[in-house]
């Protein structure tokens, strides 16, 4: 190295050293940015598939509102995918500030790993639910099979499209809903088993996820009725241009896509304040209107009533009415050796 001590090399070396020092300095500045003078925060919202447009609208309004209120400029990033795939990503280290997943089980799984504090569900209004949804029916134009209620699904010749409860959140929610439609109207456990067994016998294809089931029903024109989340059912019917219709059964499950702060991430990234404001924004009148626009039922009663035309009233039951809680329902009905497993057992 030192065998060519000419001025040129020495000069160059100084320049390189300066560059390195400069770069390190920049890096250091970058690291200290969240606490620094420049009021800028970046948030990552890890969500599930069909909420892409909903959160994009919410983000846009929130960014403007929050900058006006606190002077902090927020950049929002969204990540979408299958709900439990997203939960696994967060567990494995995806640095989500907030999670807005489809099922309690997914948020709970993250909480069980210690990333979200145990009492998370009570930290935000309405049990951390800015909006809810439910499972309803989509049928072909004119409803040729006359499907109005759950018992109609097991009439001879009716084919039902619903995804596999083992691999899809939509799938198990539909299962719970079908189960509840029997036991909450006076049926016994045996009646419910008989009902769901017959129901799944009339399912010609068990798609692995909600999107696959929609494709099967809409594009491939298989089946007479599609069990779908209310918000997706609305979009499905709108896009089908008169080929499909919505049917509201008198009773269905309340779908609860909880939202939560990922405590360990917001504390480390120093983003708690903005992240909490972000989630609370979904509860404001403005946020609730956006939810309604995307066919999610706002938890604000007044705003829900205002949109009664798209959200007809029906008996929405909670998971606790058919099981102890979500994990218990999952274990009893869907898990290994549960009711669902016995349906397909060849020994029948």
């Amino acid at each position: 190295m030192a065998h060519n001590p000419t001025g040129g090399t020495a000069g160059r070396r100084t320049a390189i050293t300066a560059l390195i020092v400069g770069a390190l300095g920049l890096l250091a500045c970058g690291k200290s940015r969240p606490g620094g003078a420049a009021q800028e925060v970046e948030l990552l919202n890890v969500s599930y598939d069909p909420t892409r447009e909903l959160w994009r609208d919410l983000n846009e309004k929130f960014i403007a509102a929050y900058e006006k209120e606190s002077g902090t400029k927020v950049t929002l990033k969204q990540s979408h995918g299958g709900s439990s795939t997203q939960a696994r990503a967060v567990i494995d280290g995806l640095e989500a500030d907030v999670v807005t997943l489809a099922s309690y089980l997914d948020t709970d799984a993250i909480s069980k790993k210690g990333l979200i504090q145990p009492n998370w569900i009570d930290k935000l209004p309405s049990r951390s639910l800015p909006y809810t949804s439910t499972v309803i029916f989509v049928v072909r134009k004119g409803n040729p099979k006359g499907i109005k209620d759950w018992p109609d699904l097991i009439k001879p010749g009716v084919e039902v499209i619903t995804p596999n409860p083992k691999t899809s959140g939509n799938g198990y929610l539909s299962f719970f809903s079908a189960w509840g439609s029997v036991v909450l109207r006076g049926g016994s456990r045996d009646d419910a088993i008989k009902y769901v067994t017959q129901l799944y016998k009339q399912v010609p294809v068990l798609d692995s996820g909600a999107r696959g089931a929609t494709t099967t029903f809409v594009q491939k024109k298989i089946g007479d009725v599609h069990l779908a989340w209310e918000n997706e059912a609305h979009l499905e019917v709108r896009e089908a241009k008169g080929e499909l219709e919505l049917v509201y059964p008198p009773i269905s499950i309340r779908a609860e896509p909880h939202v939560a702060l990922v405590d360990s991430n917001v504390d480390r990234r120093n983003t708690r304040k903005a992240a909490e404001a972000y989630l609370r924004f979904a509860y404001t009148d403005e946020g609730q209107e956006i939810a309604a626009k995307h066919f999610y039922r706002p938890t604000n009663e007044a705003i829900l009533k205002k949109h009664a035309a798209i959200f007809p009233e029906l008996r929405l039951f909670a998971i606790t009415e058919i099981a102890k809680d979500f994990p218990d329902a999952h274990k009893q009905f869907i898990g290994e050796g549960g009711v669902f497993d016995t349906i397909y057992s060849p020994k029948k």
Partner: protein, 274 residues
Amino acid sequence: MASVNRRVLPGFSLTLGYTVFYLGLLVLLPIAAVFVKAGSLSLHDFLGAVWTERARAAYLLTFGTSFLAALTNVVLGALIAWVLTRYTFPGKRILDSLVDLPLALPTAVGGLVYASLYVENGWLGRFLVPLGIRGAYTRLGIVLVLVFVGLPFVVRTVQPVLEDLDPEAEEASSSLGATRWQTFAFVILPTLYPALITGFALAFARSIGEYGSVVFISGNMPFKTEIAPILIVARLEEFAYGEATAIAVVLLVISFSMLLVVNLLESWSRRHDR
């Protein structure tokens, strides 16, 4: 100098180190992690996860359809390779590059397209279903997509061997009075065996792990058309990592032993040949 370096390029130790390091990092380490994760279960839990009736039905289906598909590919792939090497015709280049397409296409798209072709109102289904041939949501459908994803492997292993085939051997055979069939069966086919077996093994291995295309065409009915990878995904959905990887381990062990057999067969046929 006692030893002369006979290698064309220097740096054997460096390249070997590189090879071992990267194979270890990219292949062995993840596979070892699968075993370790599955090892977190007790033997009882492990068996409970991997040896249910439903899982056994799924293994049988996965290996059965993969075997059938690989076998079909050996016949179809050899035929395609034959046509591509032995004949000239317009559009040959295009046809040749079409062979690789299944590798580039996301398999989920392949599965979706196949399913919509073979459903009752699909382009092919409307003719086949009245004849009683149901391609979508049946085991036949699974074999169909597996043939699709495995095809390039057979074609691309057989093609170069066919191209290198010595025409004089064929000429000698026919000038000695062999019929065309005899020439094919006793002169051409034996030299193709190793390539065919390799192609079979590759297509077979590819099929066992195939998930994307199969979930779209199989219908996923337990005990009927549910493949083993679906069970893995089902357990992952429940955050049961240990159980999921346990099923993966079973798949790995079975397929590894099958590939081992195929490889032994291949080296035996090579030796037999020379």
